[in-house]
């Protein structure tokens, strides 16, 4: 066991920081990650293209696919540095972390040749069409229908809560191809060109952020069979693998620490006594949550290295701490600044968005607890 970053990892981090400093749009914040304006979409692509050019976008990918076989620790370094900077990759972290790897594992040579190079070059935005109005935490209950018609599928249905849909050229879409079998057995994965006729993206208004969430409607959308990943009706196995990757290595703790630092600095500027004992306890407790989340994030990465294709119970353990951490930091910021936290634009204000969504998005907190109960504590099934 060696808890220090290795010399290579530290060197990589320094080089990445240098690259980011040269290519990031000045003043970028986590608000911009949702890409609410065309300028933000352009900034994400320019940033990712520059990172790709310098080898910092997909270094953890195999050499054969444009990476250099870097370790998952370097992947985590990328996540720590980009999250500390407000995630200037926008939604492209999904491309590099699980959409690309899913294509490597389950895609055809033609699919890989078409889609992996643009990802490594930072040229393309993807979104993931998972949740539906009646299939959220129970994702396998999805109903968006794809009916086979010769060499194509005809897709009809709706997806909801989709991030980055307005900026995406491609969608990693889960559809039901057989409604007459068990709910996990009739699911297929399609890659859908978002410019296809019949695809409609609508922003869902909310008080938190512009273009935070969207709904996608698919009306008689024609998708070539060649855009299917894996076998028909066998998509759920791939989804489980993807979700395991989705749960690992998002370095939210680094951003949460930065939010707390900034909020304490804001308190100083406003003349708020953050050395007050009660506030100090609040602040210290929130920082401790960040360190707890960091510790388990590292443990989850180690689990991924040890068992890349296993069930990954520690990933759920990690996520069950990360979500509450974001909420803890959110409320600590509110307590530190009081009513001043309500003014738009501060880190404390932005943390309301992050804190609120963190225990909902990408697998609700309660789902993680269910997984821990089942996979780690071996408790009896509830039904």
């Amino acid at each position: 066991m060696d808890l220090n970053w290795s010399e290579d990892e530290s060197t990589f981090r320094a080089a990445l920081r240098d690259s980011m400093a040269r290519h990031m749009r000045p003043g970028w914040t986590l608000d911009d990650r949702d890409m609410p304006t065309q300028a933000d979409i352009d900034a994400v692509k320019a940033f990712c293209a520059a990172l790709g050019e310098e080898g910092f976008l997909t270094p953890h990918w195999p050499i054969a696919y444009g990476g250099r076989d870097a370790s998952p620790w370097e992947q985590l370094v990328i996540s720590e540095e980009t999250w500390a900077a407000g995630e200037p990759r926008g939604g492209q972290y999904m491309n590099t972390n699980w959409i690309g790897p899913a294509l490597m594992a389950f895609g055809t040579a033609e699919q890989q040749a078409q889609h992996l190079p643009p990802i490594t070059r930072g040229e393309v935005n993807w979104c993931q069409g998972f949740s539906e109005p009646d299939a959220g935490s129970d994702l396998a209950a999805l109903r968006c229908r794809a009916a086979r018609d010769g060499d194509s599928y005809i897709v009809n249905g709706q997806k909801v809560w989709t991030s980055y849909a307005h900026a995406a050229e491609w969608c990693f879409l889960l559809v039901r191809t057989d409604p007459d079998v068990g709910k996990r057995e009739g699911i297929t994965i399609l890659m859908v060109d978002m410019r296809s006729p019949g695809v409609e993206v609508r922003e869902i208004p909310n008080p938190f952020a512009h273009h935070l969430i969207h709904e996608m409607h698919f009306t008689d959308v024609v998708v070539p069979v060649t855009n299917r990943i894996g076998e028909e009706n066998r998509g759920w196995d791939i989804v489980r693998s993807i979700l395991a990757n989705e749960r690992v290595g998002i370095a939210r703790h680094v951003h949460a620490l930065a939010v707390l630092d900034a909020t304490v600095a804001d308190a100083d500027d406003l003349g708020i006594d953050s050395d007050d004992h009660g506030l100090e306890e609040t602040i210290g407790t929130a920082y401790a949550w960040c360190e707890a989340a960091r510790s388990l994030n590292y443990v989850a990465v180690a689990e991924r290295i040890r068992d890349p294709y296993g069930a990954r119970p520690l990933a759920s353990v990690s996520r069950s701490i990360t979500g509450p951490m974001e909420r803890e930091v959110e409320w600590a910021c509110q307590q530190i600044l009081g009513d001043q936290a309500l003014a738009a634009g501060s880190e404390a204000d932005r943390q309301v968005v992050t804190g609120t969504s963190s225990m909902i998005a990408a697998g609700a907190y309660e789902v993680q607890l269910d997984l821990i109960a089942r996979l780690t504590l071996d408790l009896p099934r509830s039904r």
Binding site: M1, S274, A302, S320, A373
Partner: protein
């Protein structure tokens, strides 16, 4: 970074687990075990092998609720720079604080402002204090002691915080596993109570917090000069102790609070750890101050 135990560390962990299993729990201090640990070099494993090795021994001792201040001697004292101590060491935070194993130790490590002192059993007066916890408790008045030098107080505080995290994590994980078995076996409403989501989530949450504390403790031992990490470890340990105490007792009901059942072997010790060294209030304020010092 490498979070995997080396083959030697795995072997040490296995040995420690075997060594601590089945020891008597009805004695103040398991002197026979302490003597064996001393003779076989386990008490000085930090100096001979490293901080993670010391943590592994401490984790197993805490998990097995070994009677005696093993964690203080194996982990806290050497992390604080106090070596060549006798087998039993008590940790003293001040003249009015309650000290675990008071009156049963050959030496005491005393936190005295900026400095730490070592006092022998002959250099202190012990006033026993009755306590519900399984620990022999007392107040320790130090008559004379030997200073460990400038800055040694902070070093002892940091090391002690690591010890709190390491002990808490092991006891919490053990308590959760114990309660998990209970809710699997216990049927109500025609099904195991562990099949109810409300019960599952309580234990899952405690397990996650205990795992976070485990790795905070390990990182604290590794980065023992970093007050931000050690104080964070202790702060989170206090939250874990409370969460685990509440949740394991809630799901085990009446049987859980009996001496016969065994859950209180861990939970009543968690209660003591939760309060040590000023508790969450003191630890969390140190976290905030350490971060402020590092960022301004």
């Amino acid at each position: 970074m490498d979070l995997e135990l080396s083959p030697d560390q795995v072997m040490l962990d296995d040995i420690a687990k075997a060594m601590f299993t089945g020891r008597p729990r009805d004695v103040a201090v398991d002197t026979e075990l302490l003597a064996r640990l001393d003779a076989d070099g386990y008490l000085d494993v930090l100096r001979s092998a490293g901080p993670i090795e010391a943590v592994l021994v401490a984790e197993r001792a805490a998990e097995a609720v070994v009677c005696g201040p093993v964690v203080a001697r194996v982990l806290v004292a050497p992390l604080a720079g106090a070596h060549d101590l006798p087998a039993t060491v008590g940790l003293v935070a001040g003249p009015s604080s309650l000290v675990r194993y008071a009156g049963h130790c050959e030496a005491y490590l005393v936190l005295d402002g900026d400095e730490a002192h070592v006092a022998s059993a002959d250099d202190v007066e012990v006033s026993p204090v009755a306590s519900r916890t399984p620990y022999p408790m007392g107040r320790v008045r130090v008559i004379r002691g030997e200073s460990l030098g400038e800055g040694s107080g902070d070093a002892l505080r940091r090391a002690w915080q690591v010890g709190i995290a390491v002990e808490t994590s092991s006891m919490a994980l053990a308590a959760v596993a114990f309660a998990a078995q209970h809710v699997t076996d216990r049927h109500q409403f025609g099904r195991p109570i562990g099949s109810f989501q409300a019960v599952q989530h309580r234990l899952a949450r405690s397990h996650s917090m205990a795992m976070a504390t485990r790795w905070l403790g390990r990182r604290g031992a590794w980065f023992s000069n970093d007050e931000f990490i050690t104080a964070s470890a202790a702060t989170f340990a206090c939250m874990t102790a409370r969460e685990t105490y509440d949740n394991t007792h809630q799901v085990t009901g009446g049987i859980g609070i009996t001496s016969e059942y065994g859950l209180t072997d861990w939970t009543m010790r968690l209660l003591a750890l939760h309060a040590e060294l000023g508790g969450a209030k003191a630890h969390s304020r140190q976290v905030a101050r350490a971060r402020r010092a590092a960022t301004t």
